[in-house]
Symmetry: C2
Amino acid sequence: MTGNGCSAAVQRANSNEGKIDPMREVFQQELTEVQDRLVEIAELVLDSIRDATTAFNTADIALADKVIASDPTIDELAVELDELAIEILYRQNPVARDLRIVVSALRMSASLERMGDLARHIAQLARRRYPDHVVPESLRDTFTQMAAHDIHAATLLEQLLRTQDVELAAKLIQSDDAVDALHKTVFETVLGDGWQGEAEKTVDVTLASRFLERFGDHAASIAKKVQYLSSGDWAAAEPA
Amino acid sequence: MTGNGCSAAVQRANSNEGKIDPMREVFQQELTEVQDRLVEIAELVLDSIRDATTAFNTADIALADKVIASDPTIDELAVELDELAIEILYRQNPVARDLRIVVSALRMSASLERMGDLARHIAQLARRRYPDHVVPESLRDTFTQMAAHDIHAATLLEQLLRTQDVELAAKLIQSDDAVDALHKTVFETVLGDGWQGEAEKTVDVTLASRFLERFGDHAASIAKKVQYLSSGDWAAAEPA
């Protein structure tokens, strides 16, 4: 979470004073630890959405089971990250932007944890309909595109958290816009004259599309937090 | 957020020392302010879910518009509460349980804000299908029950946040279990042989049921946080 920009600023501040503040150094190490853990969870979420959508689109039950089995690990890592963030708040009493970085880490871990849940929901749909495909032929291309955008968003998210390169945030938000547009397309198809799906298919498609859309929303909300941490305009990041 | 139990404990601690700590007193006032604001948002969320489900169940477009128009107020209040919590973290450097109370207020405001969004989604469904009812005759009783449980949960939530009476938390969680059970019933109906709904009805019913279920989940997750703040077993409250 510290980012190169922030670390550089801290180093400048320290060198201006002509000495290194040891408390400050410990704090920077702790922020780096928070960042590393966010990246670790984001990597697992990326694996989950990749596997879950593959399981979903190809009716692969082994992959679906893998996603379902791995979700508790994401939940545990999120809890541990929260504990670390709370400990930092307790020991370091950070102020200003540092404080917002730690608080935002709590928010980001909640979003990542939820993204893991949504990947699991998609895997559970694949499991329930196995050996059938969840989505009928006519919508498979749309769902493949949605999945690709969610995987792209999760890939960018991992890179964004690792590098703090805010240009990635804008790309990620674009990818979420694409998911939202495809989500609307799904409803147009389901509500169109050509839709032949039984109620079960309609329910599955509606839920799956919603899960994929919410996954993208959470990724975008994290990206917006990183953007606003970088710009300093925190309040604007909240309604995301 | 302080609760009578906590305030009493603080007063005891202060009187044991034979003096009142003025910093401590300011902090208690600030925690009371956080609590008051959570209650204020919970009241608005209660109004929203009551109006949204009434609009939904009776095809009342004026009520639906009222809910949609009032959602930004909930969003703003949640942002302001977050700013206050961050300021308290900055100025007071709370430790142990106090720190967890402030951090949990940030989490609770996020859940309340999301509950407001879900009420708005329900109102938007009512608006879109007006003058028709969203839900067909055969499912109206089920949705009326779901709405009643969500309203009950929101009512208990407001009381719980106001009084910190943890017995209310257990009741609230029961109400959420009832919503989950009804949510399953909706799917059984939609997937049953007797279902005559067009795809549009199937989509609407699926989404509406999901929104009502998520509303209850968020209420229950707040209740669990209050429970665990009371018991001290914080980590167990996280996966909710």
